[in-house]
Protein backbone atom coordinates (compact mmCIF):
# COMPACT_ATOMS: atom_id res chain seq x y z
CA UNK A 1 0.00 0.00 0.00
CA UNK A 2 1.36 3.39 -0.93
CA UNK A 3 2.07 5.98 1.70
CA UNK A 4 -0.69 8.23 2.98
CA UNK A 5 0.04 11.41 4.93
CA UNK A 6 -2.63 12.72 7.29
CA UNK A 7 -2.69 16.46 7.90
CA UNK A 8 -5.33 17.66 10.38
CA UNK A 9 -6.55 21.23 10.74
CA UNK A 10 -6.38 22.47 14.32
CA UNK A 11 -7.27 26.16 13.93
CA UNK A 12 -8.73 28.10 11.02
CA UNK A 13 -8.11 31.60 12.34
CA UNK A 14 -6.99 33.38 15.49
CA UNK A 15 -10.04 33.03 17.69
CA UNK A 16 -11.13 29.60 16.46
CA UNK A 17 -12.48 26.82 18.71
CA UNK A 18 -9.91 26.11 21.44
CA UNK A 19 -10.97 22.45 21.79
CA UNK A 20 -10.21 21.61 18.16
CA UNK A 21 -6.44 20.94 18.27
CA UNK A 22 -6.82 18.78 21.38
CA UNK A 23 -9.59 16.70 19.78
CA UNK A 24 -7.66 16.31 16.54
CA UNK A 25 -4.74 14.83 18.46
CA UNK A 26 -6.92 12.60 20.68
CA UNK A 27 -9.66 11.55 18.24
CA UNK A 28 -7.70 9.26 15.93
CA UNK A 29 -4.45 8.85 14.06
CA UNK A 30 -2.92 11.91 12.38
CA UNK A 31 0.61 12.70 11.24
CA UNK A 32 0.52 16.50 11.22
CA UNK A 33 -1.49 19.18 12.95
CA UNK A 34 -1.84 22.38 10.91
CA UNK A 35 -2.63 25.52 12.88
CA UNK A 36 -3.46 28.60 10.79
CA UNK A 37 -3.82 31.86 12.72
CA UNK A 38 -3.18 34.70 10.30
CA UNK A 39 -5.72 36.74 8.38
CA UNK A 40 -5.00 39.89 6.42
CA UNK A 41 -5.22 42.29 9.31
CA UNK A 42 -3.95 39.98 12.06
CA UNK A 43 -0.33 40.97 11.46
CA UNK A 44 -1.09 44.63 12.20
CA UNK A 45 -2.89 43.73 15.42
CA UNK A 46 0.12 41.65 16.46
CA UNK A 47 2.47 44.47 15.51
CA UNK A 48 0.50 46.82 17.76
CA UNK A 49 0.80 44.36 20.64
CA UNK A 50 4.52 44.00 20.06
CA UNK A 51 5.05 47.76 20.06
CA UNK A 52 3.62 47.80 23.61
CA UNK A 53 5.44 44.66 24.78
CA UNK A 54 8.53 43.32 22.96
CA UNK A 55 7.73 39.79 24.17
CA UNK A 56 4.29 39.86 22.48
CA UNK A 57 3.34 39.89 18.80
CA UNK A 58 2.32 36.27 18.24
CA UNK A 59 -0.97 34.37 18.52
CA UNK A 60 -1.01 33.83 22.27
CA UNK A 61 -3.68 31.11 22.07
CA UNK A 62 -1.09 28.86 20.46
CA UNK A 63 1.00 28.41 23.61
CA UNK A 64 -1.68 26.98 25.95
CA UNK A 65 -3.01 24.91 23.03
CA UNK A 66 0.44 23.41 22.56
CA UNK A 67 0.97 22.93 26.27
CA UNK A 68 -2.20 20.85 26.34
CA UNK A 69 -1.17 18.58 23.46
CA UNK A 70 2.61 18.44 23.86
CA UNK A 71 2.65 15.15 25.80
CA UNK A 72 0.48 13.50 23.13
CA UNK A 73 2.35 14.78 20.13
CA UNK A 74 5.65 13.76 21.73
CA UNK A 75 4.32 10.26 22.46
CA UNK A 76 2.63 9.76 19.08
CA UNK A 77 5.20 11.50 16.90
CA UNK A 78 2.70 14.06 15.57
CA UNK A 79 4.33 17.13 14.08
CA UNK A 80 2.86 20.63 14.07
CA UNK A 81 3.04 23.43 11.49
CA UNK A 82 1.79 26.87 12.43
CA UNK A 83 2.07 30.53 11.47
CA UNK A 84 1.23 31.47 15.06
CA UNK A 85 4.56 33.32 15.20
CA UNK A 86 2.99 36.43 13.69
CA UNK A 87 5.47 39.31 13.93
CA UNK A 88 7.43 37.60 16.71
CA UNK A 89 8.03 33.94 15.82
CA UNK A 90 11.06 33.78 18.10
CA UNK A 91 9.04 34.93 21.10
CA UNK A 92 6.40 32.34 20.24
CA UNK A 93 9.01 29.59 19.96
CA UNK A 94 10.57 30.59 23.28
CA UNK A 95 7.19 30.38 24.99
CA UNK A 96 6.52 26.89 23.59
CA UNK A 97 10.02 25.72 24.58
CA UNK A 98 9.34 26.98 28.08
CA UNK A 99 6.10 24.95 28.16
CA UNK A 100 7.94 21.84 26.98
CA UNK A 101 10.54 22.16 29.73
CA UNK A 102 7.83 22.71 32.32
CA UNK A 103 6.18 19.48 31.18
CA UNK A 104 9.45 17.57 31.53
CA UNK A 105 9.86 17.24 27.78
CA UNK A 106 13.26 18.96 27.71
CA UNK A 107 15.47 17.22 25.15
CA UNK A 108 12.46 15.69 23.44
CA UNK A 109 11.03 18.61 21.48
CA UNK A 110 12.71 20.43 18.63
CA UNK A 111 11.20 23.62 17.22
CA UNK A 112 11.81 24.82 13.68
CA UNK A 113 11.82 28.60 13.64
CA UNK A 114 11.19 30.32 10.31
CA UNK A 115 12.02 34.01 9.95
CA UNK A 116 12.71 36.44 7.13
CA UNK A 117 9.16 37.36 6.12
CA UNK A 118 9.21 40.58 8.16
CA UNK A 119 10.34 43.43 5.88
CA UNK A 120 9.21 46.38 7.99
CA UNK A 121 12.82 47.47 8.55
CA UNK A 122 13.73 46.86 4.92
CA UNK A 123 11.01 48.93 3.22
CA UNK A 124 13.21 51.91 2.33
CA UNK A 125 15.98 49.62 1.14
CA UNK A 126 13.50 47.73 -1.06
CA UNK A 127 12.05 50.98 -2.44
CA UNK A 128 15.57 52.20 -3.20
CA UNK A 129 16.26 48.97 -5.04
CA UNK A 130 13.30 49.57 -7.32
CA UNK A 131 10.62 47.49 -5.59
CA UNK A 132 7.66 49.87 -5.86
CA UNK A 133 5.28 48.00 -3.55
CA UNK A 134 2.29 49.66 -5.21
CA UNK A 135 -1.19 48.81 -3.93
CA UNK A 136 -2.28 45.81 -6.01
CA UNK A 137 -5.88 47.00 -6.08
CA UNK A 138 -5.50 50.73 -6.68
CA UNK A 139 -2.00 51.07 -8.17
CA UNK A 140 -1.11 53.83 -5.71
CA UNK A 141 2.59 54.14 -4.78
CA UNK A 142 3.69 53.18 -1.27
CA UNK A 143 4.95 56.75 -0.74
CA UNK A 144 1.27 57.72 -0.20
CA UNK A 145 1.29 55.91 3.13
CA UNK A 146 4.99 55.23 3.83
CA UNK A 147 5.03 57.24 7.08
CA UNK A 148 2.00 55.40 8.42
CA UNK A 149 3.13 51.80 7.81
CA UNK A 150 2.78 49.60 10.91
CA UNK A 151 3.79 46.19 9.59
CA UNK A 152 5.07 44.69 6.35
CA UNK A 153 5.48 40.99 5.65
CA UNK A 154 6.17 38.95 2.57
CA UNK A 155 4.12 35.78 2.17
CA UNK A 156 6.51 32.84 2.31
CA UNK A 157 5.57 29.47 0.86
CA UNK A 158 6.20 25.89 1.90
CA UNK A 159 9.97 25.84 1.29
CA UNK A 160 11.12 26.92 4.77
CA UNK A 161 8.53 24.63 6.37
CA UNK A 162 10.01 21.70 4.44
CA UNK A 163 13.51 22.75 5.45
CA UNK A 164 12.52 22.85 9.12
CA UNK A 165 10.92 19.40 8.91
CA UNK A 166 14.03 18.02 7.21
CA UNK A 167 16.03 19.48 10.04
CA UNK A 168 14.05 17.33 12.45
CA UNK A 169 11.63 19.92 13.82
CA UNK A 170 8.61 18.55 15.68
CA UNK A 171 6.93 21.93 15.72
CA UNK A 172 7.41 24.47 12.94
CA UNK A 173 6.67 28.05 13.99
CA UNK A 174 6.59 30.73 11.32
CA UNK A 175 5.58 34.30 10.69
CA UNK A 176 3.70 35.11 7.49
CA UNK A 177 3.85 31.72 5.77
CA UNK A 178 0.77 31.20 3.57
CA UNK A 179 -2.10 29.24 5.03
CA UNK A 180 -1.72 26.67 2.26
CA UNK A 181 2.05 26.34 2.76
CA UNK A 182 1.45 24.92 6.24
CA UNK A 183 -0.30 21.90 4.66
CA UNK A 184 1.74 21.67 1.47
CA UNK A 185 5.03 21.67 3.41
CA UNK A 186 4.35 18.38 5.22
CA UNK A 187 3.16 16.73 1.98
CA UNK A 188 6.27 17.79 0.06
CA UNK A 189 8.45 16.61 2.92
CA UNK A 190 6.76 13.25 3.48
CA UNK A 191 6.01 12.32 -0.13
CA UNK A 192 9.27 13.60 -1.54
CA UNK A 193 7.66 15.88 -4.11
CA UNK A 194 9.95 18.16 -6.09
CA UNK A 195 9.11 21.86 -5.85
CA UNK A 196 8.64 22.01 -9.64
CA UNK A 197 6.12 19.16 -9.88
CA UNK A 198 3.47 21.78 -10.52
CA UNK A 199 0.43 19.47 -10.54
CA UNK A 200 1.38 17.94 -7.19
CA UNK A 201 2.21 21.37 -5.76
CA UNK A 202 -1.20 22.57 -6.93
CA UNK A 203 -2.87 19.51 -5.37
CA UNK A 204 -1.20 20.10 -2.01
CA UNK A 205 -2.19 23.75 -2.25
CA UNK A 206 -5.83 22.86 -2.83
CA UNK A 207 -5.64 20.45 0.11
CA UNK A 208 -4.35 23.35 2.20
CA UNK A 209 -7.12 25.64 0.98
CA UNK A 210 -9.78 23.09 1.90
CA UNK A 211 -8.63 22.75 5.52
CA UNK A 212 -7.18 26.23 6.20
CA UNK A 213 -10.49 27.55 7.52
CA UNK A 214 -10.98 24.66 9.90
CA UNK A 215 -14.53 23.35 10.22
CA UNK A 216 -15.75 25.54 7.38
CA UNK A 217 -15.19 22.48 5.14
CA UNK A 218 -16.62 19.91 7.58
CA UNK A 219 -20.10 21.23 8.26
CA UNK A 220 -19.51 24.63 9.87
CA UNK A 221 -21.17 27.54 8.06
CA UNK A 222 -22.56 25.03 5.54
CA UNK A 223 -25.64 26.41 3.79
CA UNK A 224 -26.79 23.37 1.80
CA UNK A 225 -29.18 21.29 3.93
CA UNK A 226 -27.97 23.12 7.03
CA UNK A 227 -30.75 21.69 9.17
CA UNK A 228 -29.43 18.21 8.47
CA UNK A 229 -25.92 18.96 9.74
CA UNK A 230 -25.80 17.14 13.08
CA UNK A 231 -23.62 17.51 16.12
CA UNK A 232 -22.01 20.88 15.45
CA UNK A 233 -21.47 21.17 19.22
CA UNK A 234 -18.75 18.54 18.78
CA UNK A 235 -17.83 19.36 15.19
CA UNK A 236 -14.92 17.43 13.75
CA UNK A 237 -12.28 19.58 12.09
CA UNK A 238 -11.16 18.42 8.63
CA UNK A 239 -8.30 16.02 7.94
CA UNK A 240 -6.55 15.51 4.61
CA UNK A 241 -5.26 12.03 3.74
CA UNK A 242 -2.86 12.67 0.87
CA UNK A 243 -1.31 10.19 -1.54
CA UNK A 244 1.80 10.45 -3.64
CA UNK A 245 -0.12 10.97 -6.90
CA UNK A 246 -1.56 14.23 -5.59
CA UNK A 247 -5.03 12.88 -4.93
CA UNK A 248 -6.37 13.09 -1.40
CA UNK A 249 -9.39 12.38 0.77
CA UNK A 250 -10.95 14.99 3.05
CA UNK A 251 -12.42 13.45 6.18
CA UNK A 252 -12.79 13.93 9.96
CA UNK A 253 -12.44 11.77 13.03
CA UNK A 254 -15.14 9.15 13.70
CA UNK A 255 -17.72 10.10 16.29
CA UNK A 256 -17.38 13.83 15.70
CA UNK A 257 -20.19 16.12 14.55
CA UNK A 258 -20.59 18.04 11.33
CA UNK A 259 -20.34 16.51 7.88
CA UNK A 260 -17.78 16.08 5.12
CA UNK A 261 -19.55 15.83 1.77
CA UNK A 262 -19.21 17.21 -1.73
CA UNK A 263 -21.30 20.25 -0.76
CA UNK A 264 -19.22 21.08 2.32
CA UNK A 265 -15.95 20.84 0.38
CA UNK A 266 -17.32 22.77 -2.60
CA UNK A 267 -18.50 25.65 -0.40
CA UNK A 268 -15.02 25.93 1.09
CA UNK A 269 -13.39 25.70 -2.35
CA UNK A 270 -15.25 28.78 -3.61
CA UNK A 271 -14.63 30.76 -0.41
CA UNK A 272 -12.57 33.92 -1.09
CA UNK A 273 -12.04 32.76 -4.67
CA UNK A 274 -10.83 35.03 -7.45
CA UNK A 275 -10.09 33.68 -10.92
CA UNK A 276 -10.46 29.91 -10.34
CA UNK A 277 -8.00 29.03 -13.10
CA UNK A 278 -5.28 30.95 -11.35
CA UNK A 279 -5.06 30.49 -7.57
CA UNK A 280 -1.63 32.02 -7.03
CA UNK A 281 0.60 31.09 -4.10
CA UNK A 282 4.35 31.47 -3.57
CA UNK A 283 4.70 27.76 -4.43
CA UNK A 284 2.80 27.61 -7.71
CA UNK A 285 -0.54 28.23 -9.37
CA UNK A 286 -3.51 25.91 -8.88
CA UNK A 287 -6.32 25.52 -11.41
CA UNK A 288 -9.56 25.10 -9.48
CA UNK A 289 -11.42 24.20 -12.68
CA UNK A 290 -9.46 20.92 -12.73
CA UNK A 291 -10.64 19.70 -9.33
CA UNK A 292 -12.72 16.49 -9.26
CA UNK A 293 -14.78 15.68 -6.17
CA UNK A 294 -16.57 12.46 -5.33
CA UNK A 295 -18.15 11.03 -2.20
CA UNK A 296 -16.00 8.06 -1.15
CA UNK A 297 -17.89 6.91 1.92
CA UNK A 298 -19.47 8.53 4.95
CA UNK A 299 -17.67 11.80 5.72
CA UNK A 300 -15.08 11.07 3.05
CA UNK A 301 -14.65 13.16 -0.09
CA UNK A 302 -12.06 12.18 -2.66
CA UNK A 303 -10.30 15.05 -4.44
CA UNK A 304 -8.33 14.36 -7.62
CA UNK A 305 -7.36 15.55 -11.09
CA UNK A 306 -5.77 18.79 -9.96
CA UNK A 307 -3.42 20.56 -12.35
CA UNK A 308 -1.12 23.46 -11.74
CA UNK A 309 1.30 25.87 -13.34
CA UNK A 310 4.74 27.22 -12.38
CA UNK A 311 5.14 29.75 -9.61
CA UNK A 312 5.55 33.43 -10.46
CA UNK A 313 8.74 35.46 -9.82
CA UNK A 314 6.88 37.64 -7.32
CA UNK A 315 5.77 37.21 -3.73
CA UNK A 316 2.76 38.93 -2.27
CA UNK A 317 3.40 41.41 0.53
CA UNK A 318 0.94 42.38 3.21
CA UNK A 319 1.43 45.88 4.52
CA UNK A 320 -0.66 47.37 7.32
CA UNK A 321 -0.89 51.13 7.79
CA UNK A 322 -2.63 53.58 10.06
CA UNK A 323 -5.73 54.96 8.38
CA UNK A 324 -7.85 56.85 10.92
CA UNK A 325 -10.61 56.25 13.45
CA UNK A 326 -14.07 54.75 13.55
CA UNK A 327 -16.85 54.01 16.00
CA UNK A 328 -20.07 52.06 15.67
CA UNK A 329 -23.01 52.43 18.05
CA UNK A 330 -26.41 50.79 18.32
CA UNK A 331 -29.84 51.43 19.84
CA UNK A 332 -32.88 49.14 19.75
CA UNK A 333 -36.40 50.42 18.94
CA UNK A 334 -39.46 48.33 19.85
CA UNK A 335 -42.85 47.69 18.21
CA UNK A 336 -45.07 49.37 17.19
CA UNK A 337 -43.52 51.13 14.17
CA UNK A 338 -40.03 50.11 15.24
CA UNK A 339 -38.44 50.85 11.88
CA UNK A 340 -40.01 54.30 11.59
CA UNK A 341 -38.78 55.21 15.08
CA UNK A 342 -35.25 54.02 14.31
CA UNK A 343 -35.27 56.00 11.08
CA UNK A 344 -36.35 59.16 12.87
CA UNK A 345 -33.62 58.63 15.49
CA UNK A 346 -31.08 58.43 12.67
CA UNK A 347 -32.34 61.72 11.24
CA UNK A 348 -32.12 63.43 14.62
CA UNK A 349 -28.61 62.15 15.28
CA UNK A 350 -27.31 63.17 11.86
CA UNK A 351 -28.80 66.65 12.23
CA UNK A 352 -27.08 67.05 15.60
CA UNK A 353 -23.75 65.92 14.18
CA UNK A 354 -24.16 68.43 11.35
CA UNK A 355 -25.05 71.22 13.77
CA UNK A 356 -21.89 70.49 15.70
CA UNK A 357 -19.93 70.97 12.48
CA UNK A 358 -18.28 67.58 12.78
CA UNK A 359 -16.68 66.28 9.62
CA UNK A 360 -16.62 62.61 8.82
CA UNK A 361 -15.32 60.67 5.87
CA UNK A 362 -18.47 58.59 6.12
CA UNK A 363 -21.57 58.10 8.26
CA UNK A 364 -23.26 54.75 7.63
CA UNK A 365 -26.68 53.81 8.95
CA UNK A 366 -28.01 50.27 8.95
CA UNK A 367 -31.29 49.00 10.36
CA UNK A 368 -30.58 45.55 11.75
CA UNK A 369 -33.69 43.46 11.24
CA UNK A 370 -34.56 45.39 8.09
CA UNK A 371 -31.68 46.01 5.71
CA UNK A 372 -28.26 45.51 7.35
CA UNK A 373 -27.11 42.53 5.33
CA UNK A 374 -29.07 42.75 2.06
CA UNK A 375 -29.59 46.49 1.63
CA UNK A 376 -32.43 47.45 -0.70
CA UNK A 377 -32.74 43.81 -1.83
CA UNK A 378 -34.45 43.10 1.50
CA UNK A 379 -37.50 45.03 0.27
CA UNK A 380 -39.76 47.32 2.30
CA UNK A 381 -39.18 47.08 6.06
CA UNK A 382 -41.90 45.29 7.97
CA UNK A 383 -43.97 47.98 9.79
CA UNK A 384 -44.92 45.31 12.31
CA UNK A 385 -41.38 44.13 13.14
CA UNK A 386 -41.09 43.40 16.89
CA UNK A 387 -37.90 45.48 17.04
CA UNK A 388 -35.29 47.11 14.86
CA UNK A 389 -31.73 47.87 15.82
CA UNK A 390 -30.36 51.21 14.68
CA UNK A 391 -26.66 50.78 13.92
CA UNK A 392 -24.67 53.89 13.05
CA UNK A 393 -20.99 53.98 12.22
CA UNK A 394 -18.71 56.92 11.53
CA UNK A 395 -15.20 57.14 10.18
CA UNK A 396 -12.77 60.07 10.12
CA UNK A 397 -9.06 60.73 9.75
CA UNK A 398 -9.10 62.67 13.04
CA UNK A 399 -10.05 61.24 16.39
CA UNK A 400 -11.96 64.30 17.65
CA UNK A 401 -15.19 63.99 15.61
CA UNK A 402 -15.34 60.22 16.19
CA UNK A 403 -14.91 60.74 19.92
CA UNK A 404 -17.72 63.30 19.96
CA UNK A 405 -20.01 60.99 17.95
CA UNK A 406 -19.73 58.34 20.67
CA UNK A 407 -21.20 60.90 23.13
CA UNK A 408 -24.20 61.74 20.94
CA UNK A 409 -25.81 58.28 21.04
CA UNK A 410 -26.88 57.99 24.66
CA UNK A 411 -28.70 61.33 24.68
CA UNK A 412 -31.10 59.91 22.08
CA UNK A 413 -32.57 57.69 24.77
CA UNK A 414 -34.23 60.66 26.49
CA UNK A 415 -34.23 63.21 23.68
CA UNK A 416 -35.33 61.19 20.64
CA UNK A 417 -38.16 58.98 19.40
CA UNK A 418 -39.83 56.61 21.90
CA UNK A 419 -39.57 52.90 22.78
CA UNK A 420 -35.79 52.78 22.79
CA UNK A 421 -33.57 50.41 24.76
CA UNK A 422 -30.37 48.43 24.53
CA UNK A 423 -27.84 50.99 25.63
CA UNK A 424 -26.50 49.10 28.62
CA UNK A 425 -23.05 48.78 27.05
CA UNK A 426 -22.43 52.51 27.35
CA UNK A 427 -20.50 54.60 24.85
CA UNK A 428 -19.05 52.68 21.94
CA UNK A 429 -15.24 52.62 21.85
CA UNK A 430 -13.26 54.71 19.37
CA UNK A 431 -11.31 52.25 17.27
CA UNK A 432 -8.08 52.92 15.48
CA UNK A 433 -8.27 51.77 11.87
CA UNK A 434 -5.25 49.88 10.58
CA UNK A 435 -5.81 49.21 6.91
CA UNK A 436 -4.40 46.64 4.53
CA UNK A 437 -2.15 47.36 1.56
CA UNK A 438 -1.45 44.36 -0.66
CA UNK A 439 1.63 44.56 -2.90
CA UNK A 440 4.15 42.45 -4.79
CA UNK A 441 7.89 42.06 -4.34
CA UNK A 442 10.54 40.22 -6.37
CA UNK A 443 11.08 36.91 -4.56
CA UNK A 444 14.86 37.26 -5.04
CA UNK A 445 14.77 40.17 -2.58
CA UNK A 446 13.19 37.98 0.09
CA UNK A 447 14.17 34.35 -0.22
CA UNK A 448 17.92 34.72 0.41
CA UNK A 449 17.09 36.24 3.82
CA UNK A 450 14.72 33.50 4.98
CA UNK A 451 16.26 31.63 7.91
CA UNK A 452 15.37 28.29 9.44
CA UNK A 453 16.75 27.48 12.91
CA UNK A 454 16.24 24.34 14.94
CA UNK A 455 15.78 25.11 18.65
CA UNK A 456 15.90 22.39 21.33
CA UNK A 457 13.87 22.32 24.50
Amino acid sequence: MSKVVRVAAGQGFWGDWLEAPFRQVKGGPIDYLMMDYLAEVTMSILQKQRSRDPAAGYARDFVPAMERILPDIAAKGIRVTSNAGGVNPRGCADAVLESARRLGLGGKIRIGLVTGDDILDRLDELLARGQELRDLDTGRPLSDIRERVRSANAYLGMAPVVEALRGGAHIVITGRVTDTGLTLGPLVHELGWRPDEWDRIAAGTVAGHIIECGAQSSGGNLLKDWRKVCGLERVGFPIVEASNDGSFVVTKHPGTGGVVNVASVTEQLVYEMGDPRSYITPDGIADFTSIRLSQAGKDRVRVSGITGAPRTPMLKVSIAYFYGYKAVGTLVYAWPEAYAKAKEADRVLRARLADLGLEFEQILTEFVGADATHGRLAGRPDPDAPEVQLRIGVRARDKVPVERFTRELAPLVLTGPPSVTGFAGGRPPVEEIVAYWPALVDRREIEPRVRVEILKA
Binding site: D137, N221, T266, G305, R391, V434
Partner: protein, 131 residues
Protein backbone atom coordinates in the same frame (compact mmCIF):
# COMPACT_ATOMS: atom_id res chain seq x y z
CA UNK B 1 -51.05 17.35 -13.31
CA UNK B 2 -50.10 19.69 -16.12
CA UNK B 3 -52.86 21.81 -17.60
CA UNK B 4 -54.17 21.19 -21.12
CA UNK B 5 -52.55 24.38 -22.37
CA UNK B 6 -49.16 23.33 -21.05
CA UNK B 7 -49.42 20.02 -22.82
CA UNK B 8 -50.17 21.63 -26.18
CA UNK B 9 -47.68 24.51 -26.29
CA UNK B 10 -44.03 24.75 -25.30
CA UNK B 11 -44.03 25.10 -21.52
CA UNK B 12 -43.67 28.72 -20.55
CA UNK B 13 -40.74 29.47 -18.19
CA UNK B 14 -41.65 30.50 -14.67
CA UNK B 15 -39.72 32.65 -12.21
CA UNK B 16 -37.81 30.70 -9.56
CA UNK B 17 -35.72 32.19 -6.80
CA UNK B 18 -32.09 31.01 -6.82
CA UNK B 19 -32.41 29.80 -3.24
CA UNK B 20 -34.31 26.77 -4.54
CA UNK B 21 -31.70 25.95 -7.18
CA UNK B 22 -28.33 26.74 -5.63
CA UNK B 23 -26.34 27.14 -2.46
CA UNK B 24 -23.58 29.67 -2.04
CA UNK B 25 -20.67 30.96 0.02
CA UNK B 26 -18.98 34.32 -0.10
CA UNK B 27 -15.81 35.97 1.12
CA UNK B 28 -13.71 39.06 0.51
CA UNK B 29 -10.53 40.32 -1.08
CA UNK B 30 -10.13 43.93 -0.04
CA UNK B 31 -13.14 45.88 -1.29
CA UNK B 32 -14.31 43.04 -3.54
CA UNK B 33 -16.76 40.37 -2.42
CA UNK B 34 -16.80 37.00 -4.10
CA UNK B 35 -19.89 34.83 -4.30
CA UNK B 36 -19.55 31.19 -5.26
CA UNK B 37 -22.94 29.98 -6.52
CA UNK B 38 -23.24 26.17 -6.51
CA UNK B 39 -25.98 24.16 -8.22
CA UNK B 40 -27.97 22.09 -5.70
CA UNK B 41 -27.97 19.24 -8.24
CA UNK B 42 -25.45 18.82 -11.07
CA UNK B 43 -28.29 18.87 -13.64
CA UNK B 44 -29.13 22.46 -12.62
CA UNK B 45 -25.71 23.83 -13.56
CA UNK B 46 -26.44 24.45 -17.28
CA UNK B 47 -29.55 26.43 -16.33
CA UNK B 48 -27.57 28.54 -13.86
CA UNK B 49 -24.74 29.05 -16.35
CA UNK B 50 -27.28 30.25 -18.93
CA UNK B 51 -29.43 32.44 -16.71
CA UNK B 52 -27.13 33.87 -14.05
CA UNK B 53 -24.94 36.02 -16.28
CA UNK B 54 -22.56 38.71 -15.10
CA UNK B 55 -24.87 41.36 -16.56
CA UNK B 56 -27.89 39.89 -14.76
CA UNK B 57 -26.03 39.81 -11.44
CA UNK B 58 -24.81 43.38 -11.98
CA UNK B 59 -28.48 44.42 -12.45
CA UNK B 60 -29.48 42.54 -9.30
CA UNK B 61 -26.85 44.40 -7.26
CA UNK B 62 -27.12 47.76 -9.04
CA UNK B 63 -26.21 50.62 -6.75
CA UNK B 64 -24.45 48.16 -4.42
CA UNK B 65 -21.45 47.15 -6.57
CA UNK B 66 -19.48 48.84 -9.37
CA UNK B 67 -18.72 45.88 -11.64
CA UNK B 68 -19.31 42.13 -11.80
CA UNK B 69 -16.98 39.45 -13.18
CA UNK B 70 -18.05 35.84 -13.66
CA UNK B 71 -15.99 32.65 -13.79
CA UNK B 72 -17.28 29.17 -14.61
CA UNK B 73 -16.41 25.98 -12.72
CA UNK B 74 -18.45 23.27 -14.47
CA UNK B 75 -16.39 20.66 -12.62
CA UNK B 76 -17.89 21.86 -9.32
CA UNK B 77 -21.28 22.85 -10.76
CA UNK B 78 -20.41 26.36 -9.66
CA UNK B 79 -20.12 29.93 -10.86
CA UNK B 80 -17.86 32.43 -9.13
CA UNK B 81 -18.78 36.10 -9.12
CA UNK B 82 -16.51 38.96 -8.16
CA UNK B 83 -18.52 41.94 -6.96
CA UNK B 84 -16.23 44.93 -7.11
CA UNK B 85 -16.51 47.82 -4.63
CA UNK B 86 -19.19 45.90 -2.75
CA UNK B 87 -17.85 46.30 0.77
CA UNK B 88 -17.80 50.02 1.41
CA UNK B 89 -14.01 50.06 1.63
CA UNK B 90 -13.70 46.50 2.91
CA UNK B 91 -11.54 45.02 5.65
CA UNK B 92 -11.09 47.27 8.65
CA UNK B 93 -12.14 50.47 6.83
CA UNK B 94 -15.72 49.44 6.14
CA UNK B 95 -18.43 50.41 8.61
CA UNK B 96 -20.82 47.74 7.36
CA UNK B 97 -22.09 44.86 9.49
CA UNK B 98 -21.01 42.57 6.67
CA UNK B 99 -17.66 44.28 6.08
CA UNK B 100 -16.11 41.05 4.87
CA UNK B 101 -18.95 40.03 2.60
CA UNK B 102 -19.68 36.87 4.55
CA UNK B 103 -23.39 36.85 3.71
CA UNK B 104 -23.37 38.56 0.32
CA UNK B 105 -23.94 35.03 -0.97
CA UNK B 106 -27.44 34.98 0.50
CA UNK B 107 -28.30 38.28 -1.17
CA UNK B 108 -27.60 36.68 -4.55
CA UNK B 109 -29.93 33.80 -3.66
CA UNK B 110 -32.79 36.32 -3.65
CA UNK B 111 -32.47 36.71 -7.42
CA UNK B 112 -35.17 35.17 -9.63
CA UNK B 113 -34.44 33.46 -12.91
CA UNK B 114 -36.71 31.98 -15.57
CA UNK B 115 -36.80 28.21 -15.27
CA UNK B 116 -38.73 25.47 -17.06
CA UNK B 117 -41.92 24.63 -15.16
CA UNK B 118 -40.65 21.10 -14.59
CA UNK B 119 -37.65 22.50 -12.70
CA UNK B 120 -39.89 24.82 -10.71
CA UNK B 121 -42.21 21.95 -9.81
CA UNK B 122 -39.37 19.78 -8.65
CA UNK B 123 -37.28 22.27 -6.69
CA UNK B 124 -39.59 25.06 -5.54
CA UNK B 125 -41.53 23.85 -2.48
CA UNK B 126 -44.62 26.05 -2.94
CA UNK B 127 -45.29 24.87 -6.49
CA UNK B 128 -44.69 21.20 -5.76
CA UNK B 129 -47.04 21.44 -2.77
CA UNK B 130 -49.70 22.86 -5.09
CA UNK B 131 -49.20 19.93 -7.42
Amino acid sequence: MRSEREKRSKPRPVPVQLRWLAHARSGDKGNTANVGLIALEPELYPLLARAVTAARVARHFRGMVSRVERFELPNLGALNFLLHDALDGGGTISLKTDAQGKVYSTALLRMEISAPPAVARRFQPRLSARR
